[in-house]
């Protein structure tokens, strides 16, 4: 059960992200997940880009960040950021690096690399 204080009434805050994405709620494709690494491409931007998309490209212009970091820095929900990223990517403004494969497919060498990295840093 959820305590009343954990809930919040629907508010104007909620409306804004859906204006940003032209009313779309959630993407069905898997192109972007929380740790997909993203940066801006060299493609020249059009003059009329939406403010939120411009803000996102400005952020991404500095180097690679994960989708989660982009959402955190922009103060937008993950779902909204994925939609903005998907649009920008379709238009060629982004470069991405896919995350490591899911657990079932993880090879022993990746785990060894994680362990070695932790040991080197904290061992």
């Amino acid at each position: 059960m959820t305590a009343p204080e954990e809930q919040e009434p629907e508010s104007a805050q909620l409306v804004r992200p859906y204006v940003i994405t032209n009313g779309r709620g959630r993407l069905d494709n898997d192109q972007f997940n929380l740790i997909t690494l993203v940066t801006a491409s060299d493609q020249v931007r059009p003059g009329h880009l939406d403010p939120e998309k411009r803000r996102l490209l400005d952020l991404c212009a500095g180097g690679y960040l994960s989708v989660a970091e982009i959402a955190g820095h922009m103060g937008l929900p993950i779902g909204i950021v994925k939609i903005l990223l998907s649009d920008l990517s379709a238009d060629g403004y982004l470069l991405t690096r896919a995350p490591a494969p899911p657990a079932q497919l993880v090879d022993v060498s990746l785990l060894q690399e994680v362990l070695d990295g932790l040991q080197a840093r904290f061992g």
């Binding site: 740790i35 690494l37 899911p102 657990a103 840093r121 904290f122």
Partner: protein, 196 residues
């Protein structure tokens, strides 16, 4: 204006980084997830939020549901660059079963989960452990230990939490970097054993 972090070279990943991996840090409310992530992260921990309707409905159902309440699900996360080409993200979130979409997002592609457990509040960990098992994530148990609190024998904890014999149990002070790193390493060693 904008939110681009200014004059902070550490915000961005090194150009050489090619691979991102993810480990979940889960546990009940106030068990120390945020502290753990803050201790381990190389960047100031970030928070993202997803607004959900009650009962775990997807966000797109919010359209035209005026008057319904919504709940914010917060995820704290941090980052650790582990080699020239590898970065590890640590995601923390409470185990709230009804937020299916958030859990699917969180667990997809995760190497495993570190479940933080307060030995004085074991029962509160049951739903979290259930949820992690339900999503098929391998996990290790990290028992919060602060100065002066008595250490419960592993056998007792294993029984109380109904763990498999091979599930690692480590004690950890989430405020301490080395102690927290040890807990993560115990998890990764366990993941290695499983994949051999």
């Amino acid at each position: 204006m904008g939110s681009r972090p200014v004059s902070d070279d550490d915000v961005y990943l090194a150009d050489e980084v090619q691979i991102a991996a993810k480990i979940l840090v889960v546990g009940h409310f106030a068990v120390g997830k945020t502290t753990f992530i803050g201790t381990m992260s190389e960047i100031p921990p970030l928070r993202t939020e997803e607004r959900m309707t009650q009962a775990g409905a997807h966000v797109d159902d919010l359209m035209g549901t005026r008057g319904k309440t919504t709940t914010t699900v917060a995820m704290d996360f941090g980052r650790l660059t582990l080699s020239e080409r590898l970065v590890l993200y640590l995601f923390g979130t409470p185990g709230q079963e009804r937020f299916v979409q958030v859990w699917e997002d969180m667990t997809r592609g995760a190497l495993g989960a570190l479940i933080l457990v307060d030995p004085e509040r074991l029962k509160e960990s049951f739903p979290v452990i259930d949820l992690v098992e339900q999503y098929g994530l391998p996990y290790a148990i990290s028992v919060n230990h602060f100065d002066g609190t008595p250490v419960r024998p592993d056998r007792e904890l294993r029984e109380a939490l109904d763990l498999l014999p091979e599930t690692p149990i480590v004690t950890c002070d989430a405020r301490d970097e080395k102690s927290s790193a040890n807990a993560l390493m115990a998890l990764v060693r366990y993941l290695q054993e499983r994949s051999r």
